[in-house]
Amino acid sequence: MNGVRKVWPPLLMLAPSLVVLAVFVYGLIAANFTTSITDNHTAAQATGQQPTSFVGLDNYVGLLATDDFQHSLMNLLLFTGVFLAGSMVMGFMWAWILERPARGEGLFRAVYLFPMAVSFVASGVVWRWLLNSNQGENASGLNRLFQMIGLDALQNNWWNNITFGIIAIAIPAIWQLSGYVMALFLAGFRGIPDELREAARMDGASEWQLYRYVLFPQLAPVALSALVIIGHMSLKSFDLIMSISKAANYQTKVPAVDMFVFKSSFDYANSAAVGTVLLVIVAVVIIPYLWWTNRKENTR
């Protein structure tokens, strides 16, 4: 840490950002919570023409008791589980095979990473078509491709399955973010000193032993970062679901979509409550992580 100086000049420099964030992040989180504990469920109340009253945590209790919202939470869990597992496995594998300099390595990396530059809305356009649920004669998209390569049995309803449809939406998410995970792991591999490899080779370690016992353990912190980054993105997923499916579709709804639907129908209280639930879920993941990285930084 740098020598500690007078507090005022730097704080003055930070002031515009701090004020703005105090209002737009912390102030609005508080305001949102305040709305979520009222009975603000109608357009008239939302526009202030009719009064609202305090109802405590009733909205939260009500939401968590409905099958509808439980289904959203279940979808979120399924989606996040598959998205995380898929992108971690793919990203790690890609990093592993590209980890050492080889001819064309740069091109491979560029291809794996490019989906990251595209918006979920744009990729949703093509994935909606690829994940078309028609089968047999009318099949297009991936179902048609399965027919063409003789894997007819793999044809399925994709995101139109009521219980597991959300998993189909995790496929484009994995497609889009595995390259990101790869880039993280590649940076991790590159951060390992060459001496470690050399020492292991001197000791007669095989390629597999070198990776398994020397290099992989070094990547644990990167893996944790990747899990947290992808995990929190997944919990907030909205764009992709909206562009492939629809807000009104029961089979693919998640809390972020519910928030939008409640808002659209001027049920501000429930909309705000869903937002707070989402914030709590994300905070449970993020706050320990921020604490952990901060501590690590200080002890170094």
Partner: protein
Amino acid sequence: MSTTALVTTSRPAPPSGTVGSAVASRATWRTIRYVIAIFFVIIVLIPVYVLLVTSFKAPGDAAPTRAWALPQEWTLDNWKAAWTTLWPAILRSFQMVIPAAIVSSVLGSLNGFVLSRWSFRGANIVFAGILFGMFIPYQAVMIPLTQLMTGAGVPSGVPSLILLHVVYGIPITTLIFRNYYASVPHELVEAARVDGAGMLRTYWSVILPISIPSFVVVLIWQFTNAWNDFLFAVFFASSQNGPVTLALNNLANGAMLQNYGVSMAGALLASLPPLIVYILLGKYFVGGLMSGSVKG
């Protein structure tokens, strides 16, 4: 853990001074790596193939049976139609993204400098407080945010979106600059201080001149993020005044009759600016990714 790893280019291969069998096993391993790598290139490019091929097909050609075939007749009609529909929105996206990226980068640079090289007691806590804003789900502020923006009279569309991308961009831009400046030698700042330079003077004459690479990283990051944003667009713009993501979504999902060819040409058009940035300035793009994630 390195942070603003401005591109990890390949380093020289380690000297191979091992015995024959190890060399042979490494050659096998290399072949396997190539086979796997090429297989996944094909998988990753499948959606691109579909986008491209479909965007050149005439409406009748997009029948399910021919879903994976090349166009019977190549046509530019879809591209023309998509361009006619989307260009006003593309223009608005530029109007939104450029100021948003510049303003949030400047703020992030000032904050990052103060937090890393002109620090003060409690700076870490202030930084953590800023950083938290990067991770919150915006759904958790959306209701009061819409009320605040309406109440303050910020016009819907581009003006609202510029403001929001600046405000919610501050945490990430601060993070990237802070990590970058943390690698600047103390001596540079100290020397300026010994010469009697104050905070602003030090920033202006010492820090700013060496900030170009991180400005490129941050500008690209903000450009891409704001360009690809859909959530804020849905809540703070309409199809008449919104960015291209919103217009594209209306084009692809709104029409009664699905015209996949036009939608896919539109998706490609809407993706071109970030893709061009990625292709031309790829290493800075990756730099942003890294610093956007790994802290410390």
